[in-house]
Symmetry: C2
Subunit: 183 residues, 2 copies
């Protein structure tokens, strides 16, 4: 019964991703040792690395899952809901993702892994742009306008990591919407 096996595999994969995110958030990328990953997942290293090639691969998968979840909120409930979701993210996890930007620059293998992931998401990105288009100004390339919104979301995550208090969401939305709304 391959279906049951696939479901089991998928559940196991999810379990590993959730536990790994907690370990990365608590200890950082370097501090997320294999034995800590074993402890938090309750699985052996053999089991963990039958799902993910290595720690880089596991980290990139956790980042991708976390980012997919936020993008889905944006698509289904709008940009303000995305910012609200970021405001409720674990700041330690956001911090670890920022920290990983250093690896993106210095580690070619890590960068290639992220690049492959982006390549896979390309078709999905086109579909998302089409869904966002009606709510946005059309005198500038849609890619640029969406990139700007991405910018603001990243910056909001950044503020969540380093600041004690977050900016007023209504004021932020007013500034952003004035910039991106159809003329």
């Amino acid at each position: 019964m391959p279906k049951v096996t696939d479901e089991h595999k998928e559940a196991r994969r999810e379990q590993i991703l959730a536990a790994a995110q907690r370990v990365f958030a608590r200890h950082g990328f370097e501090g997320a040792t294999v034995s800590r990953l074993e402890g938090e997942t309750g699985l052996s290293r053999g089991a963990i690395f039958s799902y993910f090639e290595n720690k880089d691969d596991l980290f990139v998968a956790v980042v991708a899952q976390s980012s997919d979840r936020l993008v889905a909120i944006w698509m289904e409930r709008g940009f303000q809901a995305l910012l609200e979701a970021i405001a409720h993210e674990d700041p330690d996890w956001l911090a670890v993702q920022l920290e990983a930007t250093r690896r993106v620059r210095t580690d070619a293998g890590f960068r290639a892994r992220l690049g492959r992931l982006e390549e896979e998401a390309k078709a999905l990105r086109e579909e998302r742009l089409a869904r966002l288009r009606p709510g946005l100004r059309d005198d500038l390339p849609i890619e640029s306008v969406v990139m700007f919104l991405n910018f603001v979301a990243n910056a909001f995550a950044f503020a969540r990591v380093i600041e004690d208090k977050l900016p007023d969401l209504d004021v932020l939305m007013e500034l952003v919407e004035t910039g991106v709304a159809p003329r």
Copy 2:
């Protein structure tokens, strides 16, 4: 002749800051060992740490200097000039500053040091807000509008670290200016 001594001290301090920035950019915060700092400054650890209490203190001073330089560009030549300056920053140095956000969250001593620095800059910040006010919309608190511009600059620095290509500056400026211009 105390004046000469002060000038000499100031020049020495600048020399240490410039060399330390290169070491932090190249090796990260953790990798910036005392012997690497000695090598790059050409000074002994005794000399270096007569100017700065410890490595945290040195790092915070380098960050403050770098940030002061960028803020001065913004004040004197405008927001687009600031973004252009960020586009020409050493991405390794930007990456190390992002990486340090983890320390801000996890290290109370480090956070206190940054906090003291911000406290010192408070009067300066008021003066800057007053200078920026005439070019910005007045139906929202000036602090919020400037915070939004800060947001965009941070996000631009972030993009410089993780992306191969930067967004078109003219398009970005159009989106930002529409949002913040006087009504």
